[in-house]
Symmetry: C2
Subunit: 197 residues, 2 copies
Amino acid sequence: MQKQNTRVKILNTAFELIYKNGFNATSIDDIIKHTAFTKGAFYHHFKTKEDLGIALISEIIKPGMEKALILPLSTTKDPIASIYYSIKDLLLNDELFDIKYGCPAINLIEEMSPTNKKFYLQLSQIIISWENAIEQSIEKAKQNKIIPSSIISKEVSCLVISGYAGIRNLGKIKGYECYNTYLGVLDKYLKSLTINQ
Amino acid sequence: MQKQNTRVKILNTAFELIYKNGFNATSIDDIIKHTAFTKGAFYHHFKTKEDLGIALISEIIKPGMEKALILPLSTTKDPIASIYYSIKDLLLNDELFDIKYGCPAINLIEEMSPTNKKFYLQLSQIIISWENAIEQSIEKAKQNKIIPSSIISKEVSCLVISGYAGIRNLGKIKGYECYNTYLGVLDKYLKSLTINQ
DNA sequence: TGCATTACATACTAGTTAGTATGATGCAAA
DNA sequence: TTTGCATCATACTAACTAGTATGTAATGCA
């Protein structure tokens, strides 16, 4: 019980610091300084710093992305609208995330995936899952005659995901205004795919 | 003459290492180890590591982005096509960039702009310049009756730039295939704006 | 030619880094 | 009660970090 508590506390503290400053720029001393624990506790629960990073992804970032972006798509009657609103909710209403620091998953892809294979594999899974969820939504919309069958679902998912990744990057330098602009054009794009626009 | 040479050599070496590994993960010792010079040379030409980073942006990254993405837009007769082809050229033909490591400018925005004001200001300028160039292209296309005046140029630039930033991030985990998919949907989107599709 | 400045090289420092070694405490089962 | 394991704390190390101090060779200029 207390074991889980300590581990989770360290993990949450690490998440916040790494989210704001990056993985390499956040030291283990930094992390434990922000908790009531010491280095002994850290290395009791995590084998290495890399181990902490992997736990961070699989236990915090991945569930968070799934809850915000994937789950809404699998339970909806209006797949096209759900793509839009899941992203809108995440960008405008998620209190956990600060526009200045972007998206935790995208940040880690940027920083770690080119140089660390374990990070690369974990982060790939998140993106591929989201990609699949969007593509299934598009196929569902085709079946429901909401959008024409000529639409290539892979292209839609590519534009949606790259747009999300990009706007979370640009938000760091342009602020909230660009989120609203992006949501406006995303909405128009998705509606332009539908048969009765 | 030789002074410029040493500085430029250090700068180019630093660019390559920082492009691949990030700014924080690249040490000054790393950089000079990849040149024929020593720490004395480094600190003769650069006041601090931050100073090197700023020089990197203004002397290598900014001119590179302007040449690849901004200049083609200001000298063309077909502004919409130029937006597409400038990005296509950069993604598929630029030998300097490796898909695995993304875009140097986007990488630095991701890593440094939230925590370093000088980086933030320099990198903002690049994005704003590109944004303005795209918006002017859209306005030009409106004047030439290529696209309807109802199109909001700010929205187009937002989708194009966020798409570029995002796909250079996703390229790190998905490889070249996603560049082609992205270029396909970018082409379709831009053509969907035109009057005679 | 003499001199000052530039352009480096070498050797250092103080602080930080991930990770380890060892010890203390509590708790659960025997 | 005692044994053993889990849960931490403290103190350490070796390697690395940005930056400095100081010296020296080359270069431009009077």
